[in-house]
Amino acid sequence: TGGGSGNDGGGTDSNGDGTTTGGSDDVTTIEIWRWPHSTEPSNTGEDEIVELFNEGPGAEQGIHVEQVKNPFGDHQTKVKTAIGSKSAPDIAWTFTQQYYDFAGKDRSTIEEEAPYVYIDDYVSDDWLGDFYEKELSNQRTKFGGVVGAPFISGLQPGLLYLNVDAWEAAGLGEVPTDSWSYEEYLEAVEAIHGVEANGSMVNGVGIGLKDATGSEWSNFPGTIGVTAGSLIGNGYQRQDDKYVLTMASDPELEAWNEMFGKPLANGWTNNPLSYDYLETQEPFIGGQIGLLHHATFSRVQFGQEADFNWEIVPYPTKGGNENYSVFSAGAGVLVTMTAFKEEVGGNPEAAAEFIKFRNNARNQYRWFNTSSQAIPNKGSYELMNSEGVSDFVEQTGGKDIMARADAAYSEYQSVREAIKSRYPDIKTTSGGAPVTDVPSGIASGRVGEALGGMLQRLAQNGNSNPQEAFTQAEGQWADLIVQADDTEFAEESRGYNKPEPKAGPI
C-alpha cells in the first residue's frame, strides 16, 4: 500500500511532504490541494476524475492521488507555508501569479527561481493543443512558457448579470439582448436603484472593492477599458523591454466612470467596500443588486440559489459598439493546476501524469458536465458538440456560455492584430502575441495595494477626481517597476494619456 493510504486519517506519510515512494508495490502517492467548489455536483465530478485516475492510469503507473481540501480563504496561506518550508504539495490549484513574481524575468530565471515547474516540459504539444490559444499565450507572454494547466476559463466573456424582477419593477421594459450603450446602462442603474423586488430593496449596480491589497484589483480598472475602446488595459511591454503604463488614459477612465464611477458618485451602488469582487455574489443572490459584473462560474450558483428571475445580458459599451463586448470585461482570473518542483517538495513527474489526465479534453469535458463551468479547452468544446452535454449543464445554461467563450476565444486572433496595429512599438512573443502584461505579481502585491487603494479611495470619496487618482496610482505603479531589479520603465509613458491612447474599432 502507499505510504499514508493505510492511515485512518491520523497523518499521512512519515516524510510529511506528501510524497512517498515505496511500499511493497512501489506506489507513489501524490497530493493535490484544492478548495471545495461552492456548488454541486462539481465536487463529485472532481472526485470522480481522481477515482478514475487512481483506478486507471494511476494504477498502471504506480501513482495514487489524494485530494486535500482547504477552505478557500486559507488555501493560499497553507500552500505558501508549505512552499516556504519546502514541503509543497505535488499539485495545487493556484492563481499562479500569486506565488512568484515573474515580472521582467525570462524563462530560465523563472525556471530556476519559481516554486513550480513548466508543465510544458512534461506534456506533449499535442496535449496542449487542445487548449484555447489565448490562455496559453497569456502564460507564454508572462512566463515564457506554460506553468499551470488551465482548467477554469480565465476569460470572462463580458458577463453582466441582471435581476430581471428588479428590472421589471423599475419599469424598464425589455431586457437588452444586444450590446447597449453606457447611457442606457446608467439610466437602468439609476432606475433600478431603490426599487423593491421580492421583498428586497435593490441597489443599482453591484461592485466589490474591499481589500486594498487583493491582487484582483490590479486587473480591475484596466480590464473594463475594453468597453471604451482600449484594447490593452493597464499597459504593455515595448520592444525595447521597457514597460509602458496606459491605465491613466481616456478610455480606461471613461469606462471606469461609466461602469462604476458615476454609480458610485450617485450612490447607485450597493455598499462597495463591503465586499470583494467574489463576495458581491451574495447580495446578488439575496436580490439586492440589480446589475452585477461578474464571472461565468457565478451563474451556476445563481441558478441554484437565487430566488428571483435573473439573466445574463450583454455588456454595455461605448456607443453600444458590440465589438467591445466580446473580449474581456470583469476581472477574470485564470485558475490553473500547478505542479511544484522537487526542491520545494513536489513530485512533478507524477504530478504531470495526473494533470495530463485530469485536464485532457475528455476529462475536462467530463468535469464540465458536472460543473457547468466555462473551460479553456477547445477539445472539450468539440466533445460537447459531438457528444452533447449533461442535463445539469443544460439547466444551468453552461452550453450557451461555453459557446460565448468559444466565440470570444476565437476572436482573440483579430483582437491581437488590432492591438499590434495600434501600438507598433509593442513587444510580441515568438508566437506573435502582443505582451500586454505589466508587472503586477508578487513583490508587487504592492501594485495591488496601489490600485486597490485608489479604488477604495474613489469609492470612499464618491469618485471625486478620478483622473488624478488614476494618474497617481499609475505613478505609484511606475515607481514599483522602476525600483524592481529586473524591470525597466518607459518614463515617457508616465502621466495621464501617455502614451497617447489610440482607440478605434477592431
Binding site: K80, T81, G84, P115, N271, L273, E282, Q460
Partner: protein
C-alpha cells in the same frame, strides 16, 4: 571535621549507593538540588527549545535578511528591514490603530466589567442569565466573535445592525460601518468591547475577596452608595484593574488579528490595519518574509516593553490583597 568522620561518612555514602542502582548521595546537598532542579524543568525547557527555539531564532534572523517566500533565509541585510519599518507608514498606522484600540477598548472593558460585576454582586434575579450572556463571547474562539459581528455589521447592505436600527427608526440611512475609513476602525473596536466577560469574572472574584469589614466601616463612616464605590471599592480594585489592563494590552494584538482578518482585511485603506495582521499580510500576501519578521520583532518588543513597564506597579499594588 576529623578524618575519621570523613571516612565514616564516605562509608555511609557508599553503603547507601550499594543498595541503589544510581545515587547522587556522594554530591553535596546543593549539587543534588542543582541536578534535581534541572531534571524537573527539563521537559518544559526541552519542549520550549524544540518547538520554538529554532523557529524563533530563525524568525529573528529573517528580520535581518531580505527574504521572500522562495528565498528563506535570503541575503543578510543588517538593519535594513528595520529602517524600512520605521519609514513604512502602514506600520505606523497599525501601531496607531492598536493604540487607539487599546485606548478605547481597555477603558470600556474596565467600565463594563466593573459595573457589571458590581451589579451582579447585588444578587439580582436572573444574575446567572446575565452572567452567561456576558461570558458567551469570551468562551469561544475569537474567530467566531468576528464572524458573528461581521454578519451583524457587514454582509448585505450595511448588515443586520443597520437593518435593525433602520427598522427602529434610529437611523434614516444605512451606515457603512465597516466600509468607510471613518467608521471602520470604530466599528471593529465597537464589536470587540463586548467581550468583557472574563474581566467581569475576575472583578467578581476580586470583589468577593473585598473584606466585608472595610465595607461596613464605610457604612459606619457614613459613606453613601456612590461614595462607597468611588472612594472604597474602586480604589481597592486598583490592582485588579491594573492587572486587567496589562492582560488586555497584550491581548489586544491577538484579538485584533481575528477581527481584522475576518471583518475588514485591514481596510479600507489600511484604516483597520493592526501589526499582527500586517505580519500576516506581508508574509502571506506580499511574500515579504524579511519585512514581516521585522514587524513581528517590532511587535514583540512593544509587547515586552508594555509588560515590563507595567509589571512593577502591578506587583507593588498586590499588597492590598494580603
Amino acid at each position: 571535621m576529623t578524618s575519621d568522620s570523613e571516612q565514616e561518612s564516605a562509608i555511609y555514602a557508599s553503603e547507601r549507593s550499594d543498595t541503589r542502582s544510581f545515587s547522587l548521595d556522594s554530591l553535596s546537598l546543593s549539587q543534588q538540588e542543582f541536578i534535581e532542579g534541572w531534571l524537573f524543568v527539563l521537559p518544559k525547557i526541552a519542549i520550549l527549545l524544540f518547538v520554538i527555539g529554532f523557529p524563533m531564532a530563525f524568525g529573528i534572523y529573517l528580520s535581518f535578511t531580505e527574504s521572500t517566500l522562495l528565498n528563506l533565509p535570503g541575503e543578510f541585510v543588517g538593519l535594513e528591514n528595520y529602517q524600512w519599518l520605521v519609514n513604512y507608514p502602514v506600520w505606523w498606522t497599525s501601531v496607531k490603530n492598536v493604540l487607539i484600540m487599546s485606548a478605547v477598548k481597555i477603558p470600556t472593558n474596565i467600565f463594563f466589567s466593573f459595573t457589571a460585576a458590581l451589579l451582579l454582586r447585588e444578587k439580582l434575579k436572573g444574575s446567572n442569565l446575565y452572567r452567561i450572556a456576558f461570558i458567551v463571547p469570551v468562551a469561544g474562539p475569537p474567530v467566531i466573535w468576528a464572524i458573528v459581528w461581521r454578519l451583524m455589521l457587514f454582509s448585505n447592505e450595511g448588515g443586520i445592525a443597520n437593518a435593525i436600527l433602520l427598522e427602529l427608526g434610529a437611523i434614516s440611512q444605512y451606515i457603512p460601518f465597516l466600509t468607510n475609513v471613518t467608521y471602520a476602525l470604530p466599528s471593529v473596536i465597537m464589536s470587540q468591547i463586548w467581550s468583557f466577560g472574563l474581566s467581569m469574572l475576575i472583578y467578581m472574584a476580586a470583589l468577593s475577596g473585598l473584606p466585608s469589614s472595610v465595607m461596613e466601616s464605610a457604612s459606619m463612616d457614613g459613606a453613601n452608595k456612590y461614595q462607597k464605590v468611588r472612594y472604597i471599592i474602586w480604589p481597592l480594585m486598583k490592582p485588579t484593574t491594573l492587572f486587567l489592563v496589562v492582560i488586555q494590552l497584550i491581548e489586544v494584538t491577538k484579538v485584533g488579528f481575528a477581527s481584522v482578518f475576518v471583518m475588514t482585511g485591514g481596510g479600507p485603506l489600511n484604516s483597520t490595519m493592526v501589526p499582527s495582521f500586517l505580519v500576516y499580510e506581508l508574509a502571506f500576501r506580499y511574500n515579504e518574509f524579511g519585512h514581516a519578521s521585522a514587524v513581528a520583532v517590532g511587535m514583540f518588543l512593544i509587547t515586552a516593553f508594555i509588560a515590563l513597564v507595567l509589571y512593577k506597579p502591578l506587583q507593588s499594588n498586590a499588597e492590598y490583597y494580603q
